[in-house]
């Protein structure tokens, strides 16, 4: 089947959302989707789910004759297949480009990095060695196949046990799993690929792109690293120009992500080991929830605004009221007087503080009229501004209130993304700035009168 075409409005929306640092599923720019690792009953079989992308990995071994020029080393064989159930666009003969690219990347990541000790796979030099075969099948395509595949490959390899062999002189004995426990492979390190998608000629960067984000991206950078911060492979595709510091920054991010993923993998392996030792049930059937038949579940509600209201009330309660207003009327000309904010424009302070925010970037705390704001509280920010202006005076209130009513800020995840909120707050303030000018002009008119 042909792939569903991407409409113009989707592409435009995605790019605009990325410019505002918003992703379709509410993630941050450097966030991975949920990774779930489950093991089968056989050793060496695992399914890795990265969000909705699913890869099945299976490792098997066989005794063969070694290659002629590498008589003492075992043979590794990697194969990634894009199953037709992964996406309607995958047909038996059709996806050759993508397939070749993915296979090549997997080979470079796992074979050239020498993560598996091939010398230990030798049984009789020159005659018999182990051939380890890793088969990866893509079961569902929702973006970022390469990361999921690399995790599946390394997890399957770590989970695999090969039959034990003993060599006594000329005699080679291969033990069945019943006679002797199978032996794990000797793995030096665990290389994991991390993908970075670039948009707008390298201006914006996303980690772990979704399938739709992959469609609109300009280029992709894949860094394979292990937890010792050694880079195993780097590949940049799509023909974008990347600056040196961008690549360095990506490698730092990759280091952090790989450490987290490696920890997750080790924990999953340990859990499975424990269950098998204790004689509990293991396998794919156990890891599927059997009360529900829906294949895909939403793991968390997309919006969590539950504590915003309490926080807002707290902040407002704790906030100091702004300074008292000078209430003496000022006579400009006979018949015209001004009551209210006082002669001096106290909004000048706000403007200065705003400019500081704009210049200083997102890391400063926003200070407003002596009230310190918490990060999660945009709604209350506006609320308190409104309150502040109410106290300050009656002039020009119509402008302000109408403006802020339009400015309904909806926070996706207030607790988790301070960065997002700060950009929004500055944008809110920038939008408020023009609103003050007409008010000032009004005052000047009165002064003229």
């Amino acid at each position: 089947m042909k792939e569903t075409p991407l409409s113009n409005c989707e592409r435009r929306f995605l790019l605009r959302a990325i410019e505002e640092k918003k992703r379709l599923d509410g993630r941050q720019t450097y966030d991975y989707r949920n990774i779930r690792i489950s093991f089968g009953t056989d050793y060496g079989c695992c399914i890795v789910e990265l969000g909705k992308t699913r890869v099945l990995g299976q490792v098997s071994c066989e005794l063969v004759s070694p290659k002629l020029n590498r008589a003492t080393e075992g043979i590794l064989f990697f194969n990634l297949e894009l199953s037709q159930m992964a996406a309607p666009a995958f047909e038996p003969g059709r996806q050759s480009d993508l397939l070749v690219k993915l296979n090549r990347l997997m080979e470079r990541c796992l074979r050239n990095s020498k993560c598996i000790d091939t010398e230990s796979l030798c049984v009789v030099a020159g005659e018999k060695v182990w051939q380890i075969r890793v088969d990866l099948h893509l079961l569902n395509h929702d973006g970022n196949i390469i990361d999921a595949a690399s995790i599946a490959a390394i997890v399957a390899l770590c989970h695999f046990r090969r039959p034990d062999v003993s060599v006594q002189g000329d005699e080679v004995t291969l033990y069945t799993p019943e006679e002797r426990d199978p032996v794990p492979l000797s793995i030096h390190h665990m290389p994991i690929c991390v993908s970075f998608a670039f948009f707008q000629q390298g201006t914006y960067l996303l980690v772990d792109p979704n399938e739709r984000e992959e469609r609109v991206m300009d280029g992709l950078l894949v860094i394979a690293m292990n937890k010792h911060r050694e880079i195993c492979t780097i590949q940049s595709s799509g023909g974008i120009m990347l600056l040196k510091d961008q690549v360095l920054r990506c490698s730092k991010i990759a280091g952090v992500k790989v450490a987290e993923i490696t920890e997750l993998i080790l924990k999953a392996l340990e859990n499975d080991q424990k269950v098998r030792k204790e004689g509990g049930k293991f396998g794919f059937a156990e890891s599927i929830a059997n009360q529900r038949i829906t294949a895909f579940k939403m793991e968390k509600a997309p919006i969590d605004t539950s504590d915003v209201e309490e926080k807002a009330e707290e902040i407002i309660a704790e906030a100091e009221p702004p300074s008292e207003v000078v209430s003496t009327p000022v006579l400009w000309t006979p018949g015209t007087a001004q009551i209210g904010e006082g002669v001096e424009n106290s909004w000048g302070d706000l403007e200065d503080s705003e400019k500081e925010d704009d210049e200083g970037g997102g890391d400063q705390a926003i200070i407003l009229d002596g009230i310190k704001m918490d990060t999660g509280v945009e709604v209350s920010d506006i609320g308190s501004q409104e309150l502040g202006f109410h106290h300050v005076g009656q002039t020009g209130l119509e402008f302000l209130t109408s403006d802020s009513e339009e400015e309904e800020m909806i926070i996706l995840e207030p607790d988790k993304n301070p960065k997002k909120i700060r950009t929004q707050t500055t944008s809110a303030k920038q939008e408020k700035a023009p609103s003050k000018k007409p008010v000032k002009r009004r005052k000047k008119k009165r002064a003229a009168n």
Binding site: P5, L6, G26, A301, I303, T305, V308
Partner: protein, 273 residues
């Protein structure tokens, strides 16, 4: 005559055909045969009862039963072609035996005549557009089937179109138009430039398009929005800011998997903020 017929039917189905009335609300599997009410009287006793006027009686008592999605007529019975729950709707007025259909969950769309769908223009060829509607073939849309069609205001490749099918069967390429039978657009045509298009299951679309749908009313109270539902599982949403649009898209996708209580909770939380 009834006996050999029932024996043949049993051997075909492999099991005794059940009366549709008794199976309402239960899960049926493809290949099952269902008997309509007047037939089960004849088949039940195995034709042992004498029916001197059987032919005439059958002709008189035959009512017009509509065979909905998931069912197919097979001789005098209904043959189930999809797995799901069997449903029945009584006729509103006049004669007729009502409608029987199978409620099933599906994500892949099959074009049906009269359905309003959202399509993506993929190509222009000759004087028709090729529009992808999510089916096995792209539908064709003529240049002239828009209200006020001129050379200037044609859709471009990549635009979203809301239209309905005039021809949709399994033997031909589907054809769609953006005007109704009077020649008016009636809401159809090119959908605006901004907004987000996303895909959901067909069952959710039918639920959302049902009259007095709670979800739509609650969503409408949240913020001003524009929304277009296509029966092919595509929804187009537009709100004032990107965040609001994303929230709406996420809510509608999540509605599938939430009970009504969970949904009310989320909406009340959103309405507060």
């Amino acid at each position: 005559m009834a006996e050999p017929a029932s024996v043949a039917a049993e051997s075909l189905a492999g099991s005794r055909a059940r009366a549709a009335r008794t199976v309402l609300g239960q899960v049926v599997l493809p290949g099952e045969e269902l008997l309509l009410p007047e037939q089960e009287d004849a088949e039940g006793p195995g034709g042992a009862v004498e029916r001197p006027l059987s032919l005439n009686a059958r002709a008189c008592s035959r009512v017009r039963v509509v065979c909905g999605p998931g069912l197919r007529r097979c001789g005098d019975r209904l043959l189930v072609t999809k797995c799901g729950r069997l449903r029945h709707k009584e006729p509103g007025s006049g004669s007729g035996g009502g409608v029987y259909w199978v409620d099933s969950q599906q994500k892949r769309y099959v074009p049906v005549k009269g359905d309003h769908v959202i399509g993506i223009v993929t190509a222009k060829s000759g004087d028709i557009f090729k529009v992808d509607v999510g089916g096995s073939e792209p539908a064709s849309l003529s240049y002239l089937s828009f209200e006020g069609a001129t050379k200037r205001n044609r859709p471009n490749v990549g635009d979203l179109i809301y239209g309905q099918f005039v021809v949709a069967n399994k033997d031909m390429e589907p054809e769609m138009v953006c005007i109704d039978s009077c020649g008016r657009a009636n809401g159809m045509g090119v959908i605006g430039q901004d907004g987000l298009l996303f895909k959901v299951t067909l069952g959710l679309i039918r639920k959302l398009l049902a009259p007095d749908c709670e979800i739509i009313q609650e969503v409408g109270k949240l913020y001003p929005l524009e929304i277009v539902f296509g029966m092919n599982g595509r929804i187009w949403v537009k709100a004032k800011t990107i965040q609001q649009t994303l929230i709406l898209a996420n809510i509608l996708e999540a509605c599938e998997h939430m009970t009504s209580d969970q949904r009310k909770q989320i909406f009340s939380r959103l309405a507060e903020s």
